[in-house]
Subunit: 309 residues, 2 copies
């Protein structure tokens, strides 16, 4: 079972061992953002899935900085109520079974590495372009969490030191440009209305000002990806999230910046792929993390009672 607990929707799904989503459910996240109500919603979703399954570990993808080892949300700027949420223990009480939690973009990365655009690739960077920008780092086939679960926060990499203020307190973050919010903001600054989706449609029907917004987003993403390529020299980058539907509009500028800025790398060696796990990569990845955790628990049990694990 995989859960994707977002700011607007809570999704849950039963995922088979081959990555197929057998059954999925979604509910709006309670608008008050109160934890008890969110937990109640999750409990209801799990009961609906339990009619069909009923056992096994649950994996949950959560927004913000997640300390996966302690099972706690350390920092959640978009859903303030989540900050400090001891999600693993609370959900484990609710579900009456083991729970693993991780950042939602990390879950998407796991899904892509399992059955998606990076299947069979040991090392890659996942970027999720949505309302904000998230990401996940996979090295040697495993999620790289960093020292405090912050790894993969590509959205707050500076792409223009003098750029627009970001919700995080900094300025010129990738997220201020290459997100749905960033596109809408830049549009407003040019006296345009509309959200990223309508602007993408306008760009596709030949509106040059709208097209320019996606070029700017692509350039910003290219600057951040080039920095990744220079420091980590890991060539595969998977782009997911709602804005990935407009990757074609961003890609020429993205590739130009990589060609200009990635040091001593032939531009063809950078492999930028659109995410392939839809529509619920977070659910699929969270379920995969649950399966991996089950295997670990099983292996530990088979070591016998004398083992210290």
């Amino acid at each position: 079972v995989g859960l994707d607990v977002g700011g607007t929707t809570v999704k849950a799904g039963l995922v088979a061992r081959d990555g197929t989503v057998l059954l999925s459910r979604a509910r709006p996240t309670p608008p008050a953002g109160r934890l008890e109500e969110i937990e109640r919603t999750i409990a209801e979703l799990l009961r609906e899935l339990d009619d069909h399954d009923g056992a096994g570990t649950v994996g949950a993808g959560l927004p913000g900085v997640v300390d996966h080892a302690r099972g706690v949300v350390r920092h959640s700027p978009n859903v303030e109520a989540f900050t400090g949420w001891e999600a693993r223990d609370r959900l484990s009480d609710i579900a009456r079974r083991p729970v693993v939690v991780d950042n939602d973009a990390n879950c998407a990365a796991v899904a892509e590495g399992w059955v998606g655009a990076a299947a069979g690739v040991d090392d890659f960077l996942m970027v999720t372009l949505g309302t904000g920008v998230g990401g996940g780092v996979v090295l040697g086939g495993h999620l790289w969490h960093g020292e405090a679960g912050r790894a993969g926060e590509l959205g707050h990499v500076t792409v223009d030191p003098q750029g627009a203020p970001c919700g995080c307190g900094s300025r010129g973050c990738l997220e201020t440009v290459a997100s749905a919010t960033g596109i809408a903001r830049m549009a407003r600054e040019c006296g345009r209305e509309g959200d990223a989706e309508s602007l993408a449609r306008a760009a596709r029907s030949g509106d040059p000002a709208a097209a320019r917004l996606f070029e700017r987003a692509g350039s910003a993403l290219g600057i951040a990806v080039a920095a990744w390529l220079d420091v980590m020299d890991v060539h595969t980058v998977v782009v997911g999230g709602g804005m990935a539907a407009a990757l074609d509009l961003m890609e020429p500028a993205l590739r130009d910046e990589i060609a200009l800025r990635a040091y001593a790398l032939h531009p063809d060696d950078a492999i930028v792929r659109r995410a392939a796990v839809t529509p619920t990569p977070g659910v699929v990845g969270a379920a995969r993390l649950a399966m991996l955790e089950e295997s670990r628990l099983l292996a530990r049990r088979q070591d016998g009672p004398g083992s210290t694990g």
Copy 2:
């Protein structure tokens, strides 16, 4: 035995198992930059050290992008003659013993992780601020090379998309600001003369314009380090190279940028340390790589003749 083959000097040293440099020699790199002359210089240096030792693997740090697995310099913009140099095999012929090669900044990182500022730290970023800016990534106690040996090229991370042109063809690279060359360039643009060393002295004697140059370098380094912290969430950063002597002049601005730009990280959690292995970190690190290679060869031999290694 460790070698550090630079654009201006070739250094060689006998290094003990505890990291002490027992004996060291240096020669100017032949100015023509012709490989045969450089190889001859290396041969002479090795003979001088051989009078004292005479056995064991040789490690060599080389400038540019080094494919350590194949033992070849893939790209060396500053010492053009090195590009394509099959350094491992050539040096192995010269020294008549096994040779391992790696990038010079990677060697410095190994030295710092072994007996320097990051001793006992499993994960850290090394940045070398010299004529240019290099770096090395250590994860899980091992050098992270990336897919083509390019990992750690922090010098070409964009810190200002509209910034000064860089020798690499891009613009606004960290190296254009936070290097000895960058400091001298910025000084010239303000109508000042002098190299990084004299400008550092001026800054220390209260010259505000000179101080401002190092602040700009510190800011640029802070932007690049904050990106690293966001994406990898590895908190220890070791700053080496000749310019590290001016780290105190850069550090306030460096810390301000980290505080502003590193997402959801308490600024105190970022650990910026000055490199501690002097004066020949490249030699010490290269020697360490040679020791590690020897251990590997020994372990393989002990597996017996039937083993495939």
